[in-house]
């Protein structure tokens, strides 16, 4: 690590803006880079952004295919990043369909989105979906960064009630699944996310804390091991989850010791959750960009709102609840309001992409090296159909994706085929994920 710039040098180099230039002379780049496929020096990142309750598809799907298409009303805010954008039409999440399970399209829409697995219909016992694409990547390349992955969102888990026709609230509030039975909760408090990204406190404090934590983790692991022979069935599973979490933290501590400190951001630690919803989303966008920029993680999921969210958006003049509106019954006023909400979400997404586009990295920008999927597991919120899903793929994957197009796929092409293709580009290929039938064509 002889070429490492000292932390002080990096900090001095920070300007007034948050945009932190990726300095190739920095040691960390060399240290991480040899893990990316093709010997490319800058790492690739993948992110998945989820929005609920479907879209007003008439204002979403461009009429022309190929490169010469007009951005419809909902997608219009993306015009600044158009050259990085692919609109993918026709993808299907078959496992979000009932397939004999009756109602529950919101739970299934989110539960199947990144997994391609049929969520088990249960109100609390034996929750089960499948492993999600982000966690597949994180499990392979996560050890190269301080955090294996970052899961964030605006809404916490649902607080009370049956969430969707007999499905546990877990399904409609969780998009990442580490295994078929282990949902990964998301953080929604910017202060805590910041703490997770950047360690706080002095160096000696930190050394003592790490040393103490290692002792504590050793001790509690033994506690768990002593319990295990006496437990059975579901209790064993609980304890396994506990042990996995311990192992995860131990690995992170070991990685942190091995990897250099991430540069300090020129950003004050957020105090908590902002009161304004738009401000909240933007702050989370900033944190995700920061996490990628400082290479603290390369895999992230971001849920703008839980599936079935009934939040009103009074600051854009939509006073009814989102979910209520999405059951529009073909009322055109309601459909327009849905489109307004959809456009609002895309505007926030565009903000995030704009920031990524302005960060220089290697020969290009951060956005060049990203692959960011944006979409919903429901197509039309009234019909609750799961084919013809609204999906965007933004970013060039370090030159492996041809962008600036509207691509149409054959009916019922699995969404999971897209995930397979993305996993390839992260160097974490799998042959099958959920209901995938192969790679998604027409991307390169």
């Amino acid at each position: 690590m002889t070429n490492l710039l000292s932390r002080r040098t990096v900090l001095k180099g920070l300007g007034a803006s948050i945009a932190l230039p990726w300095l190739e002379a920095m040691g960390p780049l060399k240290a991480f880079a040899n893990q990316s496929p093709g010997g490319n020096r800058v790492p690739r990142r993948m992110a998945f952004v989820y929005v609920p309750n479907g879209k007003n598809m008439a204002d979403w799907t461009p009429s022309a295919d190929g490169t010469e298409f007009t951005l419809p009303r909902i997608l219009e805010p993306l015009s600044e990043v158009r050259e990085y954008l692919n609109v993918l039409t026709g993808l299907t999440a078959d496992k979000a369909r009932p397939n004999g399970d009756g109602p529950g399209d919101h739970a299934r829409a989110m539960g199947a989105f990144l997994t391609g697995a049929q969520p088990r219909k249960t109100d609390g016992t034996d929750i089960r979906a499948g492993v999600s694409v982000d966690q597949v990547a994180a499990s392979r390349i996560g050890e190269q960064t301080r955090l294996a992955s970052l899961e964030i969102g605006c809404d916490p888990s649902a607080m009370a009630g049956n969430c969707d026709s007999g499905y546990s609230c877990v399904y409609s509030s969780t998009i990442s699944w580490r295994s078929a039975t282990t949902p990964v909760p998301k953080l929604n408090n910017p202060r805590l996310i910041f703490e997770r990204l950047f360690s706080t406190g002095s160096d000696s404090d930190r050394a003592r804390r790490e040393r103490n934590r290692r002792s504590i983790l050793d001790h509690v692991r033994e506690d768990a091991a002593s319990l295990q022979p006496n437990l059975s069935g579901n209790d064993q599973r609980r304890l396994d989850e506990y042990l996995t979490s311990i192992r995860d933290i131990e690995q992170r501590i070991a990685r942190a010791a091995r990897l250099p400190e991430p540069p300090r951001p020129n950003m004050a630690q957020p105090e908590g959750i902002p009161t304004g919803h738009e401000e909240h989303i933007r702050l989370l966008c900033d944190l995700l960009v920061l996490a990628f920029q400082a290479d603290i993680t390369r895999v992230s999921t971001f849920v703008f709102a839980n599936e079935g969210s009934n939040r009103p958006y009074p600051f854009i003049d939509v006073r009814e609840g989102h979910h209520d509106l999405s059951h529009h019954g073909n009322d055109s006023a309601k459909m327009q309001k849905i489109a307004t909400i959809n456009r609002f979400h895309v505007t926030q997404f565009a903000y995030m992409l704009g920031r990524m586009k302005n960060i220089r990295e290697g020969d290009g920008t951060l956005l060049d090296n990203c692959m960011i999927a944006y979409g919903s597991g429901n197509s039309d919120g009234n019909r609750h159909n799961h084919d013809d899903l609204p999906v965007l793929l933004v970013g060039r994957g370090s030159g492996t994706i041809r962008t600036g197009r509207h691509v149409r796929y054959a009916r019922n092409t699995p969404l999971n085929n897209l995930w397979l293709s993305m996993l390839d580009r992260m160097g974490t290929s799998v042959e099958v994920l959920g209901d995938s039938t192969g790679r998604l064509g027409n991307l390169a």
Partner: protein, 802 residues
């Protein structure tokens, strides 16, 4: 057509279910006979084409069930069969429909088989998955374990919800994010609980002589020293102490000797002499601090410096004098926080180091909620020694051990190991486990000393009822309001509910919180006064503050209405909310209640009564912009009657455009319900919701919607007619056994931390019957739940684990 059949069957099944329970017994079935005569022919006629020897759709082959034993063996599948059939999902749409009466008989027969099996079978208390402490439980447990109430779990990710509650074992998972938060919380907690490094210095309060009493008109003009020459003129000051403790009291000054004796000065506290000093010096450059160590109790104390031996020079003006510079009080000398002293307490005469095992045993036993073993204590002691080897104080080592305890699965989970693992049959859980189940059920926290004591003496099972009653009377039972009631009634949803601010400018956090508080206090009254749970359905009292009273149009605590003639003698008037519109007799000139204080209100009319007319419930079952009768009807069916409506069919058909929908909400819904695919489900949902249309989307009373008068009449399936919420409440009271059962099921789920299964049915039956026999009193429900098998017992070795 399919849904007509579905709903008819559902209603019949519901009716049958109700009838069966009201009658109290199931019709006895000649079991195998019934299988032969009713089950097999039905299955052969309607099911085996797809679920038989040739085709096994969904891996279900029904032809193999030829006797009762086979059906009971696969009970879970047959429960699915019943569900599908009752909901009309089977046979599938395109297949011919069985005759409704045949299906009804089929279902009744199966029910009878199950009921008889339950009555005769072995005890099955079920299994609950090891329960992780949820956020509320973690906060409360830390508060009671350590004595520090600072809610560390606010930073934890939200708990996942199952069966309507956030304390369900199968749903509460552990993730790396949560584990990190546990580690961080444990650090913070132990640092607050005991001081691992240097103890802070005690505080010292110094009063310069110029500011002592008797006070001087210009203290700044007085020099550094004030003379005391007369015994009856001491100088003193008042100290206000916030805690008991050991202190050091000091007088600083110097003497001017005269005559043979040295200057004698006494330090007095509250007039009593504590110590007498011979003042040794006469040097103003070297004032002496005369000090005494003493015990003082919390409160105000007057400290004085008194000259004991005044003396005047017989030949001149000189006098023996004490020149006072300052009075000082230092302390409490022990700056260890109360939590520190409690945790570190040990046998007299032992050094802290030697006391480590004692300290750890006490803390680990409390934290693990059962006696710590020697092996556990030894391992924890190693952590302490490890820290000491790294140059830390013993206290810092104890902190480390405490962190390990607080992150251990033995603390974070309610582990319930079988203390009789070889027992074949169901047997009681061990005493300590029972103590935890009780305390987390009723208090959402760890057991207290009394429960631990009884568990240690193996007398808790034997004293269950008395303990339950004690626990209900304890203020900690408010946890049932905050955690059980708030989730059962879905009050937590109200916190994030956002009524449209242009349509409801009145609604703000003050009103929101007042609504929530009303329902909380009401439920609390049911607990405290051991009222009948039926009061939840209809009652003649509630709680309001000024804000809520204005919202309800109530003028005083006897229920008279604002702006109307008195119906009953006036009670204490409310000071009306923010706008102060209501002046005069009921206005704010004093003698009324302050706006924010909650008081009990007795209704003078029956416009409102019970939780169904609480603004909280009426608001959370509405949309942001308007009422939602379907949501309200669904809420009543689900939360109050425990009979959730069938879910909407997978493809809700498009509604044809028939031009503008006109009229009141109800009139427009009527037009929708004329569509037969929708009508039959909504016949169950809508009437209940429409009965409450007099209450708008934030629970305020109205008689008109826009210009149109509101029609609040309805017909329930089964033909009962009602007009308005008052009559609907009476009808619900008639269904009291259905309500009691729903409440029992919900509370039992909350108490045992798992969803209910078929083998719980007979226990629910028993609890419901006991409740009815005891005037539906709340304490009875709780006692019966704690005495039931699912709460008190665990499965034996041979019992199936499904």
């Amino acid at each position: 057509m399919r849904y007509v059949a579905a709903v008819s069957v559902f209603i019949l099944a519901l009716a049958g279910y109700v009838i069966n329970r009201t009658a109290g017994q199931a019709p006895a079935a000649e079991s195998n006979d019934a299988v032969e005569k009713i089950i097999v022919p039905y299955v052969n006629k309607h099911c085996v084409q797809c679920h038989g020897p040739k085709k096994k759709n969904a891996s279900l082959a029904l032809h193999i069930y030829t006797d009762e034993k086979a059906i009971l063996k696969d009970r879970k599948r047959w429960i699915e069969v019943i569900r599908m059939l009752s909901a009309g999902e089977m046979p599938p749409e395109k297949q011919p429909r069985p005759d409704v009466n045949d299906t009804d008989k089929f279902l009744k027969t199966i029910h009878a088989i199950f009921t008889e099996a339950d009555a005769k079978g072995p005890r099955d208390p079920g299994r609950v998955t090891m329960r992780r402490l949820n956020r509320a439980e973690y906060n409360n447990t830390i508060r009671d374990l350590i004595g520090v109430d600072f809610k560390p779990a606010e930073d934890f990710p939200a708990d996942d919800v199952g069966h309507g509650f956030d304390n369900i074992g199968d749903v509460l998972t552990v993730s790396p994010v949560l584990m990190e938060r546990y580690l961080a919380a444990a650090e913070t907690i132990t640092q607050q609980a005991i001081i691992g490094g240097e103890l802070p210095k005690p505080s010292t309060r110094t009063v310069s002589a110029r500011f002592t009493e008797p006070s001087v008109p210009n203290p700044d003009k007085v020099g550094k020293f004030r003379p005391i020459t007369k015994t009856k003129s001491p100088l003193n000051t008042l100290y206000n102490l916030t805690q008991d403790g050991q202190f050091k009291a000091r007088i600083r000054g110097y003497g001017q000797q005269l005559g043979a004796e040295p200057v004698k000065i006494a330090l007095t506290i509250d007039g009593k002499e504590v110590k007498v000093f011979d003042v040794p010096t006469n040097d103003p450059m070297n004032p002496q601090a005369l000090e005494i160590r003493l015990e003082l109790k919390k409160g105000a104390h007057r400290m004085a410096a008194v000259l004991l031996n005044e003396f005047k020079d017989p030949d001149g003006p000189a006098e023996r004098t004490f020149f006072l510079e300052m009075l000082q009080l230092e302390g409490p000398l022990d700056t260890r926080p109360a939590s520190h002293k409690k945790i570190m307490a040990h046998q007299d005469g032992l050094s802290t180091r030697d006391a480590v095992p004692e300290i750890l045993e006490r803390f680990a036993t409390k934290a693990y909620r059962r006696p710590a073993t020697k092996a556990e204590i030894d391992r924890l002691a190693n952590l302490v020694h490890h820290a000491e080897k790294n140059g830390e104080k013993t206290e810092a080592g104890i902190q480390l051990a405490m962190q390990a305890i607080l992150c251990s699965p033995k603390f974070l989970f309610r582990v319930e190991l079988d203390h009789r693992p070889d027992s074949k049959d169901a047997h009681p859980i061990d005493e300590y486990q029972l103590a935890s189940r009780l305390s987390y059920f009723l208090w959402s926290t760890m057991p207290d000393d009394e429960l631990f004591g009884l568990a240690e003496k193996k007398q808790l099972h034997a004293n269950l009822e008395a303990q339950v009653k004690r626990m209900l009377a304890d203020p900690k039972s408010y946890a049932l309001v905050e955690n059980f009631a708030a989730q059962w009634l879905q009050l937590r949803l109200l916190k994030s509910h956002a009524p449209d601010s242009t349509l409801f400018p009145d609604f703000d956090d003050g009103l929101r919180n007042a609504m929530i508080r009303e329902t909380e206090l009401f439920f609390q009254a049911i607990i405290k006064e051991d009222r009948s749970v039926l009061d939840l359905l209809d009652s003649n009292f509630t709680f309001m503050n000024g804000r809520l009273a204005a919202h309800y149009g109530i003028a005083d605590t006897n229920g008279n209405r604002v702006g109307q003639k008195e119906i009953v003698k006036a009670g204490t008037p409310f000071v009306q909310g923010r706008t102060g519109k209501f002046g005069g007799k009921f206005g704010g000139k004093g003698g009324g209640r302050s706006s924010s204080e909650f008081v009990r209100v007795t209704f003078a009319d029956d416009e409102r009564g019970g939780i169904l007319t609480h603004a909280s419930i009426l608001t959370l079952t509405s949309n942001p912009t308007r009422t939602n009768p379907v949501k309200r009807g669904k809420w009543v069916l689900e939360q109050i009657l425990g009979t959730p409506p069938p879910p909407p069919p997978p493809n809700v058909p498009e509604l044809e455009e028939k031009g503008e929908l006109k009229g009141t909400l109800r009139e427009r819904f009527e037009q929708h319900r004329k569509n037969p695919s929708c009508a039959n489900c909504h016949a169950k949902l809508d009437p209940m919701g429409f009965a409450f249309e007099n209450f708008n989307a934030i629970g305020k009373f109205r008689t008109k919607e826009g210009d149109a008068p509101i029609d609040v009449s309805g017909i329930l399936p089964g033909g009962q007619k009602f007009n308005g919420p008052k009559e609907l409440r009476k009808i619900l009271l008639d269904k009291k056994d259905v309500f009691a059962r729903a409440l029992t099921e919900k509370m039992l789920t909350y108490a045992i931390g798992r969803g209910l299964e078929y083998y719980d049915k007979k226990h629910v039956d028993h609890i419901e019957a006991a409740l009815a026999k005891n005037e539906y009193r709340f304490s009875r429900l709780v006692v019966e739940i704690t005495q039931s098998d699912p709460f008190r017992m665990r499965r034996g070795k041979d019992q199936k684990n499904d």
